[in-house]
Point group: none
Chain length 527, copies 2
Amino acid sequence: MTRVFAYDSTLRDGAQAQGISFSVEDKIKIVQRLDELGVSYIEAGNPGSNPKDMEFFRRVADLKLNNAKIIAFGSTRKVKVAVEQDKNVQSLLDAATPAVAIFGKSWDYQVTDILRTTLDENLKMIGDTISFLKRHGKEVVFDAEHFFDGYKANPDYALQTLKAAADAGADTLCLCDTNGGTFPSDVYTITEKAVQQFKVQIGIHCHNDSEMAVANSVAAVQAGARQVQGTINGIGERCGNANLCSIIPNLQLKLGLKCIPDENMNKLTSVARYVSEIANTTYNEKAAYVGNDAFSHKGGMHIDAVSKNPVSYEHINPEVVGNSRHILVSEVAGRSALLAKIRQVDPSLNKDSAEIKHILDHLKDLEHEGYQFETAESSFQLMVRKLLGKHRPFFDLHEYEVNIHEPSANGINSSVLIKISVDGQEEVTAAEGDGPVNALDKAVRKALERFYPAIGEIKLTDYKVRVLDSDKASAAKVRVLIESRDQHESWTTIGVSTDIVDASWRALIDSIEYKLVRDEERQFLAV
Amino acid sequence: MTRVFAYDSTLRDGAQAQGISFSVEDKIKIVQRLDELGVSYIEAGNPGSNPKDMEFFRRVADLKLNNAKIIAFGSTRKVKVAVEQDKNVQSLLDAATPAVAIFGKSWDYQVTDILRTTLDENLKMIGDTISFLKRHGKEVVFDAEHFFDGYKANPDYALQTLKAAADAGADTLCLCDTNGGTFPSDVYTITEKAVQQFKVQIGIHCHNDSEMAVANSVAAVQAGARQVQGTINGIGERCGNANLCSIIPNLQLKLGLKCIPDENMNKLTSVARYVSEIANTTYNEKAAYVGNDAFSHKGGMHIDAVSKNPVSYEHINPEVVGNSRHILVSEVAGRSALLAKIRQVDPSLNKDSAEIKHILDHLKDLEHEGYQFETAESSFQLMVRKLLGKHRPFFDLHEYEVNIHEPSANGINSSVLIKISVDGQEEVTAAEGDGPVNALDKAVRKALERFYPAIGEIKLTDYKVRVLDSDKASAAKVRVLIESRDQHESWTTIGVSTDIVDASWRALIDSIEYKLVRDEERQFLAV
């Protein structure tokens, strides 16, 4: 089976993205997960430009990695500086990695107008730096920056830069679409030229500025490239880098090439979520292969066809990449889809059980009121538990009273008084907040945390509101969706009311109850 | 210049996405913006499966469109049903659109295993339906569902389905990669076959399950397809549809094909934002071409090179698509576009006026706070009027106090006390409502109607809320958009605050003030 080397640059080029910043600890954890996934190279930092990276390279040297080589990244020597005297090149040696990547210019105009040196000096910068690194025993990847734009402007010179690198002993010549503007058809043709001309392995490094980075990477591999660079979830500056979470399954599952060990392919989704969590970015639930929506089915006809045969609307089996099929709960979903969800709560039920009819009738009423459980599966589960008599309420609300006053002194314009009880023990408390929902959230947590300290682990991560019957103006019903997260998982709950505060309250309470139910389940499983 | 017909399915296939639901009013507004952008076709609904869509088709018939034809979407007649008796086909006629699209099976296994009929009956279903629609004078697009998977399994049969459609008079044969699993190289080869074999125009419809929908659409056009289907921002079920916001500039700016009028290309970014706001989805700031990050430069070296020559790290000039370069942390977009808007308030201003700088600085502050005037042009106009000293406040708010109590007797859980003055005349009043926003709305109208009876003409028609910094949980800032209407027009205003009631209040007040300003203008014009 033809081998293609997966080269991850999440920790280097990915970290260039707006709003991304990894600590040394973050980087160590991501290296371990990437190694478990089975990528071949991890480009993990630029020791010359970032002093924090040197500490990382010291620490990463102690890790025992099974699949991946760590790469330190830097540039060719500076113009008219002896390579032995170049500090950045020296720092590449100091990083003490088995392999290094250096980038150099391959677009003539960039040499003359940005570097402001001669075309010949640039070739020497490439050659000198690589020879030096090879003399020090490094495996060397040469990143030919702007290669495709350079090739279109001056193909001879672009190829000369590759030749300078190859002659100096580079192990891989990586063709970079630095601006992300190249088309797959051109990537294919130009990569094929490089593959034909050089015996050295060719690599590909793409950016997503034309929304074609994945296709460009695939096209280069089809033309003979054997090292493919990218990042997890495609993070990277501007529109991002080529997304390894799509490239790896595309190459391995569709073209039969080998990027990572087959038995690790089902780790892909969890690695994608893990990196997103560490990077603190919003996970793209619509992502190919690894998003929650990637195998979600909504239309009744599609659901019917998928239950007859999944290949109807699924290009791969979701389990292969560690994802799963989601049949969405909604008006259009057929009975059989709902039954599957209800049986998650009580596996003893079947389609003829009286309880099922009872639940479906209730669901119909709720949907008529404006509830929509398509995304709020946690509220759906709670509703089913309640109707099946399997739910023990964690607390009783006696009353709450919200007071908002404008103008306010310091933004804290709202106060809430709340009265609840847990197993007969009453608790009256109050809280202030930036607005009524915040005050209510604080008050209910304050009242309940005494009884259920785990509530402190809940983070509210998203909050959506939709007006349902907009012709009723400000008296319209609103639907609130709240997304919450703890250290284990993320879940979504729903509330519908004519009062936005009350709708938020309902979603909030479902979120808290769901957390407590799940904690009980986890405790039970752990016993 | 070779023409490629842009075919938008945001309102039909896009609306299949999880969590997306467009009202009739939403759809009408999006149609107008798409027509202004200059797409050739707008596939706007499925009249057979959704009764709400029929109302839309009645209303859209009254719009005067300059570029786009409206398309009603449906399927071929049912198995063994005479086409004249098929209700869904009949509903396509009832929609009274100039053009229709129907989908039919082109994968043999789907015919025998999902439809459970003969291969021959499927060909008749395609032929009968298209002949019938052609007899009724419709332009017909045939969507060959699963065409690429079908072609790989049984090329002869897949081509026979196209032939049945062509023989019956279809105007376009659209090849669908329904499961999104096909590669650009295969899309190219297979599309080329279809182009060679049929005189009829070939179309392409891709899904993004392999993160290659844009590249697949481009490859099909390179092979000769001349109708390209997709959605704004790539919204759609699972991983989404092919993204027209990337396809259109890729084809037009890079391949020199004509999809939309050149002079409209700079509307692309604002249309993308507009649709995202209406759909109430999180905007992808990393989107190619139209995202805020697409031309953002962070790395110092990149910034330096970009300031020497933008082509260093930009594949196109961002202004061409109505986007802009972000070097520093400046969020202000499109100066020239803004200037035009400001000059609507004061035509005497030009780009060098001190007032313009003042407004832009203020705008930057507001955008930093979370304001976004893309859809809320009425609030923008009010802000400009205020900064130019052209706004006379219609009233002063002294204070309001909101009280919410749960449990409530009859849903009326909120009361508001409000104190305002108009020209020194004070008014204190109170109102109750289903929730605080409703009570506040009623109270402020009650207080002001004595002075400005025209306020009674305002109807609030939509209300949207978006959380801006979701990591701050319930203390997060929220952005409220309120859409209002009177007998003359409809307008949208915005409010941002950590308090959802306060944000709603701000948007509400802007709505009332805008109404009063416009009434004055109308009175002035009528004199």
